[in-house]
């Protein structure tokens, strides 16, 4: 009886376990091992040799890597704060009791469902093309078009905009956080004479810090891993101005077949994310406020 129960339980857990083993744990360990090898994709794996830290030291000397890491940092540190601020602003507006608020919430959330897909990136490419929707609109009001995808600065802006446009999931989480703040506190603050901006700064924001923290971590992790947008819209160009690390990893593997180097890059990216996340957690005790920690004995 107990044995068959166990088997049934295991069977139900199997899809997850297989997924974890095959698509997470195996690549995780394999890439770590491969990062110390000179394995080339076109060669049999048996020919791969151990090269120690060679791949890692090669990174230091590789200007492409430095450029890629640099634009990745720009991408992350521009998109994350902007996206969080934007998501919070929209959530704040959608938190008011307005007519048809449900329709508005859905409308604002839609881009997030669509946004991650390749199709939207393709649309984005057409919208920002030289004869695309944006430039045509600019011409209608008598302004010159901009070479959005051809100028390094504009290309990065275009890729960043696509990410900002996908603020929905962060917004929904903010909205839930806002709704968890008791109305009583706002009323008490109103009676205390606080104006709306003060209430937002002194009551709403501090009570929202756990949600801000969560969204921050999620956004940092996701931004470092962004691939679809720049790959489809700019292909990493022009002049590698949108050549994010995941793009470089992809090309090192499937264009140059240098799996060893690509694995080292992946592990570098992993370590950067891990360190930043750890730092964020460390800092959280100074600025994240949890109101429902354990209560004192009565």
């Amino acid at each position: 009886m107990i044995y068959s129960d166990r088997r049934a339980g295991l069977a139900f857990a199997m899809p997850f376990l297989i997924g974890l083993l095959v698509f997470t744990l195996f690549p995780f360990i394999a890439s770590l091992l491969l990062s110390f090898s000179n394995y080339q994709l076109q060669d049999p794996i048996a020919e791969a040799g151990y090269v120690g830290l060679e791949n890692y030291s090669a990174m230091a000397a590789d200007p492409t890597f430095r450029q890629s890491f640099w634009v990745t940092l720009i991408y992350v540190f521009v998109t994350v704060p902007l996206k969080l601020a934007f998501a919070l602003l929209i959530a704040f507006v959608l938190n008011f009791r307005l007519r048809a608020i449900g329709a508005f919430r859905t409308a604002y959330y839609l881009p997030s469902i669509l946004g991650g897909s390749v199709a939207i990136a393709v649309v984005w490419r057409y919208v920002f093309a030289n004869d695309g929707l944006i430039n045509q609109s600019l011409q209608l009001i008598g302004m010159d078009g901009v070479n959005w995808l051809g100028e390094p600065g504009y290309a990065m802006a275009t890729v960043i905009l696509l990410r900002l446009w996908q603020f929905g999931s962060a917004m929904v989480i903010f909205l839930a956080g806002l709704q968890a703040i008791p109305t009583d506190l706002y009323e008490a603050a109103t009676l205390d004479g606080a104006k709306p901006w003060t209430i937002f700064r002194r009551i709403t924001l501090p009570l929202l810090t756990p949600v801000i923290f969560f969204n921050f971590i999620m956004q940092v992790v996701q931004a470092f891993q962004e691939f679809n947008g720049p790959y489809v819209i700019t292909g990493g160009g022009p002049l590698k101005s949108t050549y994010l690390l995941p793009l470089m990893i992809y090309e090192e593997t499937f264009k140059y077949f240098d799996v060893g180097y690509a694995s080292a890059l992946s592990w570098f990216l992993f370590l950067v994310i891990a360190v930043l996340t750890a730092l964020a957690f460390r800092s959280s005790k100074y600025w994240v406020f949890y109101s429902n920690e354990k209560e004192a004995p009565k």
């Binding site: 109103t190 009676l191 205390d192 004479g193 009570l207 209560e295």
Partner: protein, 365 residues
């Protein structure tokens, strides 16, 4: 006469076609402890929130002190409010919670510290000033909420069911503290509760509300002894007043003869003009006495005895009250038992009488 501390004139308030406050006029004297009491949904909290300015009346005026504050911002009304949930800012210490409003108003740091310390002394919060609300017990949180009100030195304190989140023992203790506080700072207090014990013990004046209207206003014992109608009579007092269906047979000067179906009683009623018709006889549980056979007003079978120690409650089924058991409050050691037939007597002067429209007919003497 001195000016009122709070004056409401014909205040109306609806939420989406539901009349919540239906023409309330009311006056609160300076230093009074006024309690709004009534069943849930009677509008008592809304009335308090109207005074606070958290709701805007549809019509009518609200005056606090000598100022018409109907259109004045809540912070400018000279009131302070204590919420049922306490509404303490969870990310601020006790001292910061109490001083928040003063800081917003731009008071000097020294002055804030002085007022916070003063309030902390009154409420015995001195050792807790640096704690966060989550590290406080329910009673301590309640005191901080009151402290936050005190530091503002308001003209009027508003309390919205402040004790309802506390357990029974703590509630009793806080009730005493509130009464002491009222004496100590002598401020005008308006207090909302559904708990009639709080209303009876704390109030210098009770306002009984029902369906958005004021049923009766008066001192606690006055309302208890001379309820204006059946609602007030039934609402104040625990266990509640017994209501026996009856008919009045008309009255001569000073006395009304009442027919209970099984028996008759002559109730003294000064100056009341009574015509014959349907009526209700009201008798409080403590006004019944056990009588010997043949002498009581009504008799019936005891269905349940609840012994509370000092007193006992006997539930009696009688033809005089076919729908509901009659509740009788007796001394704790009264020898009554289940299934026993008892005869209940009542002092005629203690009887309440209500006409067909549930209005009190005169008052018991």
């Amino acid at each position: 006469m001195a000016r009122s501390a709070v004056q409401l004139s014909d205040v109306h308030k609806s939420f989406a076609r539901t009349h919540v406050i239906d023409g309330v006029s009311l006056s609160v004297d300076p230093g009074e402890f006024v309690v709004f009491v009534g069943p849930s949904g009677c509008g008592k909290s809304t009335l308090l929130r109207l005074i606070a300015g958290l709701e805007t009346p549809d019509s009518g005026r609200i005056v606090i002190g000598e100022r018409d504050v109907t259109d004045v911002h809540p912070a400018e009304r000279g009131i302070a409010m204590v919420f049922q949930s306490y509404a303490l800012y969870p990310h601020m210490s006790v001292a910061e919670n109490m001083g928040f409003g003063l800081r917003i108003r731009g008071l000097a740091k020294d002055e804030i510290t002085r007022r916070v310390n003063e309030a902390a002394d009154i409420l015995q919060l001195g050792k807790l000033l640096e704690r966060k609300p989550k590290a406080l017990s329910g009673g301590q949180r309640q005191r901080v909420a009151i402290g936050r009100a005190i530091v503002r030195e308001p003209e009027v304190f508003l309390f919205d069911e402040p004790l309802s989140n506390l357990d029974a023992a703590l509630r009793g203790q806080m009730r005493i503290e509130l009464a002491r506080l009222h004496v100590q700072i002598g401020a005008t207090m308006v207090y909302v509760t559904h708990d009639q014990v709080e209303a009876m013990t704390l109030a210098s004046k009770i306002v009984v509300l029902n369906g958005g209207r004021v049923e009766q206003v008066g001192a606690p014992l006055e309302l208890y002894r001379k309820p204006a109608n059946r609602f007030v009579a039934g609402f104040l007092g625990a266990p509640r007043m017994n209501f026996l269906p009856a008919r009045t047979l008309g009255g001569s000067a000073g006395a009304v003869e009442v027919d209970l179906g099984t028996t008759r009683i002559v109730v003294p009623r000064e100056g009341a003009e009574v015509s014959a018709g349907a009526a209700t006889l009201g008798v409080r549980p403590e006004d019944f006495t056990i009588a010997v056979a043949g002498e009581g007003l009504i008799s019936g079978e005891v269905t349940l005895v609840e012994r509370l120690g000092g007193e006992a409650l006997a539930y009696v089924r009688s033809d005089a009250s076919p729908d509901e058991a009659i509740v009788v409050k007796l001394a704790g050691d009264t020898p009554v038992a289940r299934h026993e037939t008892v005869h209940l007597g009542v002092r005629p002067a203690a009887c309440h009488l209500f006409d067909a429209a549930d209005r009190a007919v005169g008052a018991p003497s």
